[in-house]
């Protein structure tokens, strides 16, 4: 049993002409600051200092859910009345806080000053602050800035802003040979699986961005080929392209088909022949297909509704529709990048209701009317929908759990099957 690995064998619909409903209104999504929650785990010697309000501090605390870490590598410089009223120089205050922080945490090698809604609105220039502080603390600590504010970014866009701010710090590639740069935070276990796969295919050198250590930044140059592991990185791609790198068009590595298409894009770019590609990937494809089989009965024919959250919605919907025969009622995404998602849009079944942006009350009305078997949504909506009898899947788990690649395809299916199994089990 093998899957159709030709990514373009799908409905020949012109993705550009695909109808997309654009909504604006109340949005029930996290802001970009939340990216810190996974970025600080990924870049192990970095610290994220939000320059913001008490709300920002409370958000990060609530989004981190439980306080797993006694002293995590993020914090907030809370602006107070005197900072806004100009009674103190906000820059002096920031210097004081950063000095205090670095004195306390000598292990920090990379410090991000993260802009927030209030710091953006009062136009606090964090890029100048980062420059000034860098001069003071280099070479021991590198200080960069980016915006994670809710007026600029939604949820996963925070990672994009963070990575884009790191691009100027990347060293220039020295030699003429082609190299592959995989961008977007992946769980370490997933990175290692992909690395083994690239090795077996004969693709290399391969680097990952963000790196696990800020002192091991990948190099970039005109011979760098970018493979996006996450769909929410347009600014990072643009910044890398300005350094000469080329993006490989590919679907995202979710499910067997997505992973195969993603690896194939790299293989094609590195001139790996089809026979080698099939020989190397087949055992993994077969194994993943077999693992997925268990979930087909559970999920096949079930109707699913996506509220916008992470921008992973379209690749997820493609996987669920094509590999598990789920019916897509509505696929909401906070933002749709037509170019980066072109390969995905080609694969998405014709006639799917796509929504970009959100007016949450209207969308809830549509969801209630459609009564899907399962709705994918943020934590603010999950329990209210469950109370109305609609089974839900917390979207945030799709960002925090390793779901990419062959070995995780069945885990990804399980994330959707579990709430349905649970509801079926409960009699009281």
């Amino acid at each position: 049993m093998t899957v159709h690995v030709q990514p373009c064998a799908a409905p020949a619909e012109d993705p550009v002409s695909r109808a997309v409903r654009t909504e604006s209104g109340q949005r029930e999504v996290f802001c970009g600051l939340t990216g810190i929650v996974w970025l600080h785990r990924k870049i192990q010697d970095a610290f994220f200092l939000v320059v913001g309000s008490r709300t920002c501090a409370h958000l990060i605390q609530s989004a981190a859910g439980v306080m797993i870490f006694a002293e995590p590598r993020f914090g907030t410089a809370i602006m107070e009345e005197k900072d806004l009223a100009g009674l103190t120089d906000a820059n002096d205050e920031l210097d004081r806080i950063v000095t205090q922080l670095l004195t306390r945490r000598p292990d920090i090698k990379l410090l991000f000053l993260v802009g927030s809604c209030p710091s953006e609105v009062i136009k606090l220039d964090l890029s100048r602050a980062a420059l000034r502080l860098s001069q003071r603390f280099s070479p021991g600590v590198r200080i960069l800035n980016y915006s994670g504010s809710g007026i600029e970014t939604t949820f996963t866009q925070g990672e994009d802003s963070c990575l884009a701010s790191l691009v100027p710090a990347l060293p220039a590639a020295q030699d003429e040979t082609s190299s592959l740069l995989v961008i977007g935070s992946l769980a370490d276990v997933v990175e290692d699986q992909f690395m083994r796969m690239f090795d077996a295919l004969g693709i290399g050198p391969v680097q990952f961005f963000p790196p696990r250590k800020s002192t091991a930044l990948p190099s970039v140059g005109p011979n760098t080929k970018i493979l996006m592991a996450q769909p929410f990185l347009p600014d990072t791609v643009r910044a890398l392209q300005e350094r000469g790198a080329k993006r490989l068009a590919a679907p995202f590595p979710l499910g067997v088909e997505g992973t195969t298409g993603w690896l194939r894009a790299a293989a094609d770019a590195f001139g790996i022949d089809a026979a080698t590609f099939d020989r190397v990937t087949e055992p993994n494809r077969v194994r993943a297909e077999r693992a997925l089989g268990a979930y087909k009965a559970e999920l096949g024919g079930r109707r699913i509704f996506f509220f916008p959250d992470s921008q992973l919605e379209i690749p997820l919907a493609r996987f669920l529709a094509r590999e598990l025969s789920m019916q897509l009622v509505e696929v909401g995404t906070p933002y749709l990048h037509r170019e980066h998602l072109a390969e995905e849009l080609k694969l998405l079944p014709a006639g799917v209701a796509l929504t970009e942006g959100q007016d949450v009350d209207l969308q809830l009305d549509r969801c209630r009317l459609a009564r899907p078997d399962i709705a994918v949504c943020g934590l603010g909506l999950a329990n209210p929908l469950e109370a109305e009898g609609i089974t839900t899947k917390w979207s945030i788990e799709l960002v925090f759990t390793p779901i990419q690649g062959y070995e995780q395809a069945a885990d990804l299916a399980e994330l959707f099957a579990r709430p349905l199994v649970r509801r079926a089990k409960l009699v009281a």
Partner: protein, 541 residues
């Protein structure tokens, strides 16, 4: 600016949300950027509410800032009114919303809704969650009950003969620590006394209920942090007296009964004789002997912390070694309470300062919030939660009030369970040579069985060193080197080590810690048998 990692309180508009979410028929239109909607999950996930909070956010974005954000606000308010048909509306701005100066109050008034629209102005860069809740409740009471106020100078009419006295319960909100169950407990207690509850607010009330607050004879202030300001206003305008005692603990509940019966003109004696809690008997039972002078550290909101200190000291026989609160507004009350237990009051919202204090005092039990639970876990000290901010597990499915006589029962259980039981301590002593038992065995009911926390004795002072140097702004040495320093500072002579082994193992860990501390403080390099007994004498109480 203030550097913070974890915070005890959210911003003031979250306090306003706690009022709105606790009520029915009220809607909150909040001028706020995308992302501030995170606050919904506090209610739907932590409190497990089955409805979305009644809040509409404008969720403006950067592109809106160049356009008309005021229009955005008015559209959101209009849509919210049409969809939710509330009895009253509160409007305001979050921290970023307030920076763009759109005047939500004025804008909402201009829309001419046929319902009361109350503007809540919360200084987001000065104040915090509990203040925001208190201010919102006060503004609601003023706006909704105010029109029914008696004319200035008129006296309250006497209660007609044969009519039962009545009161309002003020202060419970959404996301409050056991507020839901406290309402049930206090309503029951008052009912038994012959006092009716007119309105419970904000929790469970509608704007129409708030408007009839003045009908009651007096007010019960359950949570002064939230209801204090409104109760003072009601006293001034409606001449309604209000209670000062918070009925948490057996003694406080009895004081409370005295207070409300005095306000209602009822004889408290039958009730005081008839009702009590199991707490006093359990405390007197032989099994509780081991609780004597257990050193307890207390931190939380002012109301719960002060009440906990009284219970700990007078009803459980603990020794209060630390008392603190993040409620700066109640600093005076907390300082007064601290004086009673002869401890230095700790009034701070910096959890690192609290952690340093816990490490320094090395208590045997911590009573605190979600933050202290983590601090205690890190330092290997048993802990029970007594106050918000809390975790999903602090919204239990079972009935678990803090107030009244049943609340005292709940408190006895919750605080004592993290400790080893008296009988268990005895048995462990008797069977101490059995191979199953090791030095520092954990209480058997705590899951980890008899896994001894070996590193605890060393880790606690090391953490104290690390956090103390943080507090003083000196670069913190890493834990490993701090441990090395602590270990190097006091070397045990073999015969002293042997003598230590003769001490019953359940106090051996403490003896070791105390001796090392004594040695370090007195510059003793080698701990001899003499040092051991010098330390024992020094710490004897």
């Amino acid at each position: 600016m203030q550097l913070t990692v974890w915070t005890y309180e959210g911003p003031p508009h979250v306090g306003a949300m706690r009022i709105a979410t606790g009520m029915e028929g009220l809607h909150y239109v909040l001028h706020a950027p995308q992302g501030d909607t995170y606050a919904d999950l506090l209610f739907t996930m932590i409190e497990r509410r089955n409805k979305r909070p009644p809040v509409t956010y404008t969720t403006f974005a950067a592109r809106d800032l160049g356009r008309d954000t005021a229009e955005l606000f008015m559209t959101a308010a209009r849509d919210a009114y049409a969809r939710f048909q509330p009895q009253a509306m509160i409007v305001g701005a979050s921290c970023t919303g307030s920076l763009i100066q759109d005047d939500p109050g004025g804008l909402a008034k201009s829309l001419g809704f046929p319902i009361p629209v109350i503007a809540i102005d919360l200084p987001a860069y000065q104040r915090k969650e509990n203040w925001g809740a208190a201010e919102t409740f006060y503004q609601l009471v003023r706006a909704l009950a105010g029109p029914n106020a008696p004319a200035p100078g008129t006296k309250r009419p006497e209660r007609a003969a044969g009519v039962r006295p009545s009161c309002n319960l003020l202060g419970p909100t959404a996301l409050g620590f056991r507020h839901r169950d406290d309402i049930t407990e206090i309503t029951g207690l008052l009912g038994k006394l012959g006092i009716d509850v007119n309105v419970v607010a904000p929790m469970g009330s509608t704007p129409a209920d708030i408007a009839r607050l003045g009908d009651a004879d007096f007010n019960v202030v359950m949570y002064p942090e939230i209801a204090g300001q409104a109760a003072s206003w009601l006293h001034r305008i409606f001449h309604q007296p209000f209670t000062k005692t918070v009925p948490i603990g057996v003694s406080a509940t009895r004081d409370f009964i005295q207070e409300v019966t005095a306000l209602a003109g009822i004889d408290p004696a039958p009730m005081l004789q008839a009702s009590s809690s199991r707490l006093p008997w359990y405390s007197h039972s032989v099994d509780s002997t081991y609780l004597t002078n257990k050193r307890v550290f207390i931190f939380g909101d002012a109301t719960h912390a002060i009440a906990a200190a009284r219970i700990a000291s007078e009803e459980l026989g603990f020794k209060v070694v630390g008392l603190g609160s993040y409620s700066r507004e109640f600093g005076r009350e907390l300082r007064e309470a601290a004086k009673r237990y002869d401890v230095e009051p700790l009034i701070t919202d910096d959890y690192l300062e609290v952690e340093a204090k816990v490490a320094e005092l090395h208590p045997e039990l911590v009573l605190g919030t979600q933050m202290e639970r983590h601090i205690a876990k890190r330092l290997g000290v048993p802990c029970a939660v007594i106050s918000a901010p809390v975790h999903v597990q602090d919204f239990p499915a079972r009935y678990a009030p803090q107030m009244g006589f049943e609340g005292a029962n709940v408190i006895f259980d919750t605080w004592v369970h993290p400790l080893m039981m008296g009988l268990e301590e005895h048995l462990l002593t008797m069977f101490k040579d059995d191979f199953e038992f090791k030095d520092g065995a954990m209480p058997s009911h705590l899951g980890t069985g008899h896994a001894a926390p070996v590193a605890e004795a060393v880790a606690a002072p090391a953490a104290a060193v690390a956090t103390e140097s943080v507090a003083t702004g000196v670069a913190a040495p890493d834990i490993a080197s701090a441990t090395a320093v602590a270990a190097a500072a006091a070397v045990w002579a073999p015969e002293a080590e042997k003598e230590l082994q003769k001490i019953p193992f359940f106090v051996r860990g403490k003896a070791r810690r105390n001796t090392e501390r004594f040695a370090n403080e007195n510059g003793v390099a080698t701990i001899t048998v003499e040092t051991l007994y010098d330390a024992k004498a020094h710490f004897a109480r």
